[in-house]
């Protein structure tokens, strides 16, 4: 007599696994925030680290409280700043651009100037407050 023994096959329903994993995926998609922390990078000088730089290697950029910009005794609009600084750097590659602002200068104006100077390709930028 041939007896067929039925072997029990343990099947796991796997169709719901996909649903569950999609749920988790959705959770992570919703809870993850893509951070876009962007800005203008700059290295500040060390505190009390005073360097004696020859005067010809410094280019002062003054910003006053109404947004007027003066580069070495000449007042100029912000649109001309980039080209002016670029010319100065070509003439003297060691040039340090020193941005000096007065107390009441809005931060917005400062960032505009900093952005233009960065665009001109200046590598050495220092920021300072104008002394009285």
């Amino acid at each position: 007599m041939i007896r067929k023994k039925r072997i029990p096959v343990g099947e796991i329903p796997l169709c719901s696994l996909a649903d569950i994993s999609f749920l988790i995926l959705t959770f992570f998609l919703v809870s993850t925030v893509i951070y876009a922390d962007k800005g203008i990078p700059l290295a500040l000088p060390m505190y009390g680290d005073q360097m004696n730089v020859p005067k010809k290697n410094i280019c002062n950029v003054f910003i006053n409280d109404v947004g007027l910009i003066m580069v070495s005794e000449t007042v100029m609009p912000i649109a001309l700043l980039k080209e002016n600084i670029r010319q100065r750097i070509i003439e003297n590659p060691d040039l340090i651009i020193s941005i000096k602002s007065v107390k009441d200068t809005p931060y917005k104006t400062f960032i505009d100037v900093l952005s233009e100077i960065k665009l001109s390709g200046a590598g050495k930028i220092s920021i300072a407050e104008m002394e009285k």
């Binding site: 951070y35 962007k38 203008i40 505190y47 952005s115």
Partner: protein, 140 residues
Amino acid sequence: MKFEMKRKLQANIPTATMSDIVFMLILFFLTVSVLKNYTGLPVILPDADLEVIRKIESRRHTGYLWIDKSGAMSYNDKIVGVEDNSLYSSVYDSKRKDPQLWMFLQYDSRVRMEIITKANNELRKATAIFVNFATTTKQK
């Protein structure tokens, strides 16, 4: 003649418990991981050209400093000030713990430079000299 049926050996790895283990792992990570996300202060960031702005290197090695319109400062969601040296001490503390710290400075565009220079000087004293001035991208 006797037929002998050879029982085939079924080598099945039970995968039913695998999902349970995976779920346990997921729950573990969900409870352990903390999404570090600072509230900060309400600021309107200035905008700058796309060519000059860079992304911060890593959120892990970044300290977040906010200065809002009124001049209130918040460092990593802790209200700090210049006068009582709390800005200096907290920045110095995180710089000591993490020497490759970058500062991400979210200053409101309407703040006067006097306050900003004061804050920057505190950062310089705390040797946190690598900074990133937070901006938005200028719309053309």
